[in-house]
Symmetry: C2
Subunit: 296 residues, 2 copies
């Protein structure tokens, strides 16, 4: 245990795959981690690694220096903030709430205003990256909130990632997160359309992926998605359902902002007709769907 | 002059910006370069560097080991192949024609069949990269043609680039080139939509570009386009007219192949209404168009 970090105490609300990876990383850095999860059994990996589990959010928050939430949606965040024994019922004592999830920016900004009125200023810091990045401290955070609040949250964020990008007031972080996931969508959809064309003409997809990787368009995303396509490996990491939800939010946010998006709606129209079951697959399955079954 | 390459003789047909950069590179490597261009004055930079200029394609081709064409379109290639004193009127003597341009794959395949019948088998090798890559030998070639013909062309291609990717028979190289330029289009269009959303909410675009560059989506293309957006630098390198043409070809090729493309048509609908003058701008101007004037 690193002495340097001794005494840093985090309350972690939400122990899904990402929350667990983040909590384990902080435990490894010598932090004290206090956890709450609605289904208590999901706290087991963190308890095994030395975290303390608590019966209510308020109890987990008591005595922590930082409070982070990693939840599935805004409804869950609202419930854990304002419900019985919720975060907002604990004394804030100058602390802020750092939310790491992805939300609709206007909803998040509204929630943040309510949280601030209850004495808990909110910093939003949605993440770029995977569980692997969370475990290795290679996340980037797209941060929104008041300057002082973001500064206050920075030691936590820098312990968890390698980039803290402050984009503006509350809502800015999630706006940027949706913009980034639009790029994930266009790259995955574009690669699918490209490979579909190659396959329709019987061309060597692996050679194309090599050329792409050597070109000025090269991206770790193409390398990863191309390899999964060649391997037929679509084990779920980021589901098509989640990609569709983020693209729909991005599209609605853009339209509500007076913009005329073209690519976001095209992607939404592509994903919407898929069955619930099909959407549970990894987003790399989109490439296979567009291109047909891999031949290699 | 490198002795290693002494005696390698190229006939270069077409001395636009790319052709000139390629010819200068080969001269620098010690090749003998024989050039023909319809407008003779455009051969000046190559002549100044030691190339010989010729009055007809047939004359340039005479005595060359390799023959490369770098032309604007298939009509120009057809004219220089089969016109008076065209390439096909020169004795082939086991040589092949290496075309480095971008064409509609079916047109290129048809031209290749005619050229082969006239004794000049064709290898297509459209390029990934810019004039800068051509000057520095960092191009990649997306190659289509018969195995033996491609092998024959390889010494020339490896002298000019750092990747020779053989994708299939004639037409395959240009199919892959159009697929690659679809990705250029979706990345430029996607970045434009993303930045437009950020700007509509007054967010820090430079921080977003930093986060993008640190993420798994990072690409030299985003870095380059993002910087041009921030600088307001849209000096023409690859025109929107050329991007639109390639996207239209890709879209038509996909539809004719029985596919149902979504992103390519969305991009075509975005570009088609622009004026001829607007299309003469660099493709990075697409981002500025979508995002509004830069604020930085």
């Amino acid at each position: 245990m690193s002495r340097r970090n001794a005494g840093k105490r985090l309350a972690l609300i939400g122990c899904g795959a990402m929350g667990t990876a983040l909590g384990l990383r902080l435990l490894g850095l010598g932090w004290e981690v206090r956890v709450y999860n609605r289904s208590p059994e999901r706290t087991a990996p963190l308890r095994d690694a030395g975290a303390s589990a608590h019966a209510t959010p308020a109890e987990a928050v008591a005595g922590a220096d930082w409070v982070a939430t990693v939840l599935t949606d805004s409804a869950a965040l609202r419930a854990l903030l304002f419900g019985d024994n919720g975060i907002a019922s604990a004394p804030a004592a100058g602390r802020r709430l750092v939310d790491l999830g992805t939300h609709q920016p206007t909803q998040l900004a509204a929630l943040g205003a309510e949280a601030a009125a209850a004495g808990w200023p909110l910093v939003e810091a949605p993440m770029t990256g995977s569980v692997h990045d969370a475990s290795h401290g290679t996340l980037h955070f797209l941060v929104g909130g008041a300057e002082a609040d973001v500064e206050w949250a920075s030691p936590l964020l820098w312990a968890l990632g390698r980039g803290v990008h402050h984009l503006g007031g509350l809502g800015a972080g999630n706006t940027a997160k949706l913009a980034l996931n639009l790029l994930v969508g266009v790259m995955a959809g574009g690669l699918g359309e490209a490979i579909a064309l190659l396959r329709a003409h019987g061309l060597a997809v692996d050679s194309f992926l090599d050329a792409l990787d050597g070109s000025g368009l090269a991206s770790p995303l193409y390398r990863r998605l191309g390899q999964r396509y060649l391997d037929g490996d679509h084990a779920p990491r980021f589901s098509l359902a989640n990609l569709e939800k983020d693209l729909r939010w991005e599209c609605e946010h853009a339209l509500a902002s007076g913009l005329q998006p073209r690519l976001a709606p095209a992607l939404c129209r592509l994903l919407a007709p898929l069955s619930e079951e099909a959407k549970r697959r990894d987003y790399s399955a989109l490439i296979a769907d567009l291109a047909g079954a891999p031949s290699c």
